[in-house]
Every structure is written in structure tokens, then in C-alpha cells.
Symmetry: C2
Amino acid sequence: MEYQEAKDKFISTWGSLGTLWGINKAMAQIQSLLFISTKPLSMEEIMEELKISRGNTSMNLRQLMDWGIVTKELVPGERKEFFTTEKDVQELARHIAKERSRREIKPVIKILKDVSSIKDDGTEKTKELIKQTKALHDLAETADTMMNKIVNQEHNWITKSLLKLIK
Amino acid sequence: MEYQEAKDKFISTWGSLGTLWGINKAMAQIQSLLFISTKPLSMEEIMEELKISRGNTSMNLRQLMDWGIVTKELVPGERKEFFTTEKDVQELARHIAKERSRREIKPVIKILKDVSSIKDDGTEKTKELIKQTKALHDLAETADTMMNKIVNQEHNWITKSLLKLIK
DNA sequence: CTAAACTTTCAATAATTATTGAAAGTTTAT
DNA sequence: ATAAACTTTCAATAATTATTGAAAGTTTAG
């Protein structure tokens, strides 16, 4: 496999995996392109490489910046803006995990808590609703906590030793 | 909040979260409904409760069965089929994690491995592509392994003690 | 065997989501 | 101040994905 083929394969694969971490295709592809680029890219270059419109590029770059994984770079002497992505995978994972947790998981946990806290009227169906949503709440909270702690590397040595034991 | 409101809220919230675990809205809603039901439900009952068509119900129930989280139940004396979902959240999480890994994560890991294994022609851009995709490959593989092991509870005591340390 | 009860399939359609491109907006150089 | 260089916005449109419903298929009771 040659460079160009490998590059295209990477961008399209990582792009289609976007759904998995909750972003759209164009967004994921732009991030992929920046991730393997050896230098900051301009909007022009991104449009050209990915064959997408100016508007699309602009909107998706903005979203990537909102996620905190792409930043503007000022190149001296250049009028236009250049963009780079976080190059460290650990750091990238941290940002993504944090954002997903904040945007999607935390709000759901809140609703599960509310639903599981309704008054028990003694009927079987209410008991079941409370029991099941409570179980889901606990699971979601544990998963969210673990993910964040692991990814934040606040307990790096634990993670490392866990991995040794687990593998 | 009364039973009906709480139930509707749960079904619509959990339904919209479907994207997070990679399934569509109707599928997630059917699963939610079964998850808090005190008895197996027929297709008729599901259609009625969720206001969706027979075809849609049939197709999505099939998919849920493919995922291994819904099963047909035969009720003696009844001609029609009844459905139940896995009621244990741990078991549910196990199935979901396993399926997502198999369907989405494993294939991507494979491609990352291929891409990161291209011949190093000495150019800077090739070196960068190899370096970055290799880092992503290692991260994805570690995350996938951890998730599966944890969710499979093969090392339950480790998970438990980890949680104590981490929380 | 065959009619009723039930389920599945799938082409048509609807709903949702992504993308374009051109006009409006902003910044910088002179 | 103004014109060129560049970016953003957003209504229109395209692409994708989900849903319907009716016909075809299957199973069971008698």
C-alpha cells in the first residue's frame, strides 16, 4: 500500500467512525486530515483535499474548535487562517470523552435519576420502572465516572497496573 | 411526576440515546418499552404503545434479536409471539459492548493496523502517517480490550477494587 | 386441505441530516 | 476610507436514513 492509498483509507475509515464518537462525517474527515498532516492547513487546502465546499469546511472547523480538538494557528506573513488538531492521542481522547460526557451522558443520567425518583404508588409497573431505571442510572454513572477518570489519567498508575492484570 | 409521564420520558430519552450505543430510535424505544414492562409484549402492543407501524416493529424487533438483547417468548395458548428483553443491566451492557466491538471497533482496528504498516519511504509525511495511525491503533486496541474485559466481568474483583480506588 | 391468524418483506414515501454556494460580514493593507 | 482577501451565515437542495402499508409469506386449527 502506497502513501496516498493509505492516507485515503485512513481518512475515510476514521471519518465513517465519526458516529461512534458522536460527530458527523465531514467533521471527522477534517480532523483526520489535520491529524496526519505535517503542517497546519488553510481552509483552501482542506476544501481541496476533501472536495467539500467552503461553507461546509467553515462550519465543521468551527464545531471542531468548539469540541476543543482543533485550534487556529497564525502563520506570520499570511493573511488567511491555518488549523491544527491536537496531535497527542491521549489528549484527544480526553477532550472527546469530556465533551461527550458533558453533552450527552450527564443529561441522560440526570433524567434517569428523575425518573427513578418518582413516588412509589405500590403498583407493580411503577415498582418495575423505578427498579430498572435505577439500575440503568447506576450503570451509566459508574461507566461515566470510570471513563472520565481513566481518560483523565488522574490515576495513571492504577490504569497501568489494571491493564497489566486485565490483558 | 406520575407513572405515565415518567415512562414516556424514559422511553424518549433512552430512545434518543440510541445513537450513543449505535442503534436507531425505534429500536431503542422498543427495547426501552420491554425493559420496563412487567410482562412480555406482543407486536400489537408494541405498535400501539409506540405508535409505529407493523413493518417497522417487525424489522426492529428482528434487529434487537440479532443484537441478542431481545428474545421471543411463547405464551401457552396464544397464537401470536411475545417479546422480552434482557432485564439485567450488566448482561445488557455485555451484549451491547460485544456487538459494537465486533461490528465497528474491531474492523477499524484492523484498518489502522494495515495503514500503520505501510512501508516507510523516508518522507516526512509517510513517517507522520505511520506514527499517528500507530498511536491511534494502540489506543483503540487498549480501549477495546479494557471495555470488553470490564464488561465481561472476567476480573470482577479487579474491577471492583479499581472502582473503589478511582471514585 | 384451507381459511384465519399472524409475521415478514420491500417499494414507495416521509423525515431527517448534511452540503452547497452565493450574499453578507469581517479584517487588513494601503 | 476603500478595496481586496478572507470567513461566516443560511436558505435552498441533495443525500441519507427511517417509516409506512399492503402484498406475499408462514403457521396453525379445525
